[in-house]
Amino acid sequence: MMDRLPRWADVVLVPLISLLLAAGISALTLLAIGASPMEALTTMVTGALGTPYAWGYTLYYTTSFIFTGLSVIVAFHAGLFNIGGEGQAQLGGLGVALVCLAVPWPHWTLALPAAMLGAALFGAAWAAIPAYLQVRRGSHIVITTIMFNYIGAALIVYMLVNVLRPKGQMDPASAHFPPGSNLPTLHELPGFSLIFTKQVPANVTLFIALLACWLVWVLLWRTRMGYQIRAFGKSDKAARYAGISPFKVTMVAMLISGALAGLMSINNVMGESERLLQNSSEGAGFIGIAVALMGRNHPFGVFLAALLFGFLYQGGAEIGLWTSIPIELRIVVQGLVILFTGALDQMVRMMLGLVFRPRKAEAA
């Protein structure tokens, strides 16, 4: 019964109602602490969407979420729940830092492909171990990827403190990357600078993220590998009958998934902070799960959901800056959106299922 909703309801109505529910409860929470929901909403919309400058921030977050969201869906189509985006993104940051610091790059166009390679390789490597353990040892990938987030974080701290930290610097961070590897922001790009008249964090990585959406779509629905990934994800038993190797599919899907998570660090490490910091991914790896759920496991859906979460992130920050509403409330709002669009999504479906039932019920 649950998967018998009409397609338009599944794609449009379910996320929309989930969002409205989340917004409604957020409003009630605000009222309960004596704040004005309208003020919060206005601040969020103006601060995240009102000006090109605001968009420059929203799109920056969107870029990160696209990568981590894509990472989750590639694994998910193979039936694997990769919760390790956080660790894979941080390791990707390490790859970026090593590439940017090791070579005196003359121009960002040369540094970018090399850094992407570094980010993808390090992210993929961090996903490869849980993938191998799953397929050869039966260790559940949900558990191992979570564990690898912690191991990754610890590894980054070690690298920052003992290896990458310049002599005499007190905070655990790498040196600033040389200017040759700094990516142009939207403000610095010819043409875009007319719209983005002020410096914004959104940078060329946005276009790489959009390209990645298209490439993931091609991978999943146009290539043999994608066919095998999707078949394996739907039924590993049937895949064995068809001669699809569980080892190959699991490894390839997780390597691509890890690489995509790693590529997120091009946006934040190379494009924004321009040095490697502790906890560089700032939770984007986890947001990617919500983005993937809300995006219905489709790259285009991921793009839309990433925009929404970009808005929530930026808008939430604005609330903290400009209103008396406590900053923690932005986390409450984000949490409610994740709760309703991700975890409680079946509840909305069930309610809609009842609405659609008289016309569209189970066939004999």
Partner: protein, 535 residues
């Protein structure tokens, strides 16, 4: 419409006179699921003390009708009379109170409860179990004596054979004072012997005045046991006839709506060179339990070897090893080339490369990805085939769709919509998708398991014709089926499997169901031979 209670063929206890109300009368029952009209204005009259068969193809609406009678669905309109009284049946509790008992195709038993515990489940009286158990024990003993329904009341259900589990289901219904017993495809999982026993039980129940409604798609059983038979087609009741006055051919025609060949004509086999040679094949499952114990067989080009046996005696494992998705030990040669039975080259791709095509027993969990479209499924297992590739990276989905359209036309797959998900096709058409995919590969060896399970009569005829045509084209075919009729009508040789062994081989022209049935039950020459380690 009236149904005569006089059975004609069997002497029954006290045929009721005209004023005894019918056990069940349904008037104008209609039920729609969305746009699908599952039951359209159904009238049926089941006379007390008779065995009434209901036949029809898959999706004809038999199960829906019985579910309405048992309170699982509510009819959109129509009336139900039980014993002449207008009755509403909103749930199965009411059905039980009205004296209706149901034996489902898939038993609803608690596996780790004893027979006795299962029987009283839901009918316990009081807070303590002991009095209910004692009462049930007594009732069970009476029932056993009366109807040949003996089952050890203290045995765990999980230790019972399928035939005995079914008896427990019947006992459950009788314990709840069922006067009307509905059985849904009762013989699907039984050996011929067990089926015969079941029929004796049903006969005994009928003689005691119980009314039995039996849903089946097996015409032979209808002819053998029922007094009257109702035929359903696409949600309507097309006819109710006296069994004695009809024939299997007539019933099949009523079911399908056109003439059907019950036995596809088949010329003599023309065996050529040996294609498949299996020597001493053994398989252990993940719990290290031996599933195949030294299987040896041969199939030549241009012949069909049928493997008969009750489900779960190693047939699935044999297909899995041959199909490359289970490991084994022993030797398998195809066209003289030895196959790897473990390791990297023991997979479905290698097998296909060696000319083996496989229509698996379970199309829904093995043969198809149910969420994939028909055209995506048409490449399943052959996704590496060069004609489906545009270049080194991309698949040629257009070519694949065109190919699917062509196969859908050749195999008359309905609806002929390549973009429809596999789960939205009927069972018969799903099977045709798999059959089309595998047969059109022109394999040297075709493995085909339960080719017509859950498939309509019309499609059965078609699939059988295809199998025989492939044989006549000089291919070797391994047919695994639990339907003896099917094996006997299309196989050229029959091997019977029991407990992971081949019990013996028979010629379908000279053997009979009784002989095969004994082999299927493990009684035959092989069981007399000492087993490994027992010598």
């Amino acid at each position: 419409m009236s149904v005569d209670t006089e059975t004609g063929r069997r002497a029954t206890a006290a045929p009721p006179s005209g004023d005894v109300p019918p056990a069940i009368e349904l008037r104008g029952i209609s039920k729609a699921f969305g746009s699908v009209q599952a039951n359209k204005d159904i009238d049926i009259l089941v006379a007390r003390g008779t065995i009434h068969g209901i036949i029809g193809e898959n999706g004809a609406g038999k199960s829906t009708l019985m579910s309405i009678l048992y309170g699982f669905y509510k009819a959109d309109k129509g009336e139900i009379f039980i014993g002449g009284k207008l009755t509403t049946i909103p749930d199965s509790q009411s059905a039980i109170r009205a004296g209706i008992g149901m034996v489902f195709q898939h038993f609803k038993l608690v596996q780790n409860f004893t027979v006795l515990e299962n029987v009283i489940l839901g009918a316990e009286e009081g807070r303590l179990l002991a009095p209910s158990l004692a009462k049930a024990r007594k009732v069970l003993a009476e029932l056993a004596a009366e109807y040949e329904l003996d089952v050890d009341p203290d045995a765990l259900v999980q230790d019972l054979s399928v035939g005995l589990q079914q008896r427990v289901e019947i006992l459950k219904a009788l314990y709840r004072h069922a006067d009307i017993l509905i059985l849904d495809e009762p013989t699907g999982v039984l050996t011929p012997d067990e089926a015969d026993h079941l029929f004796r039980i049903l006969q005994g129940l009928k003689d005691q005045g119980k009314t039995i409604v039996m849903i089946t798609h097996k015409l032979r059983e209808i002819m053998e046991i029922t007094d009257n038979v109702s035929v359903m087609r696409r949600g309507t009741m097309v006819a109710t006839v006296k069994t004695a006055e009809t024939s299997p051919e007539d019933l099949a025609e009523l079911m399908v709506g056109r003439k059907v060949l019950m036995h596809v004509p088949k010329g003599p086999a023309n065996p050529g060179k040996v294609v498949l040679e299996v020597e001493n094949l053994a398989v252990r499952d993940e719990h290290k339990v031996e599933r195949l114990r030294g299987i040896s067989l041969q199939i030549r080009a241009g012949e069909i070897l049928g493997i008969a046996g009750v489900a779960g005696n190693g047939q699935s494992e044999l297909l899995a090893v041959l199909g490359g998705f289970a490991n084994g030990t022993g030797k398998i040669r195809v066209n003289g080339v030895e196959l790897d039975l473990t390791g990297r080259h023991s997979d479905g791709q290698s097998r296909r490369a060696q000319g083996i095509a496989h229509v698996p027993e379970d199309r829904q969990s093995l043969g198809l990805i149910m969420d994939f479209t028909a055209w995506e499924n048409m490449a399943f297992g052959y996704h590496n085939a060069p004609e489906y590739q545009k270049n080194w990276l991309l698949m040629d989905n257009d070519a694949l769709r065109a190919d699917t359209d062509k196969k859908m036309a050749t195999y008359d797959i309905r609806p002929p919509i390549a973009t429809l998900a596999a789960k939205n096709f009927s069972g018969g058409n799903q099977q045709k998708i798999v059959v089309a995919r595998e047969m059109e590969r022109n394999p040297d060896l075709l493995l085909i398991g339960q080719p017509t399970r859950g498939v309509d009569i019309g499609a059965i005829e078609f699939i059988h014709k295809q199998i025989i045509a492939l044989r006549d084209a000089g291919k070797a075919i391994l047919l695994v089926s639990v339907e003896l009729d099917e094996i006997m009508s299309i196989a050229d040789r029959i091997a019977v499997m029991f407990d992971g062994r081949i019990m013996g081989e028979r010629d379908p022209a000279t053997t009979n169901e009784r002989e095969l049935g004994l082999l299927m039950a493990g009684m035959g020459e092989a069981s007399a031979a000492p087993t490994k380690g027992a010598a």
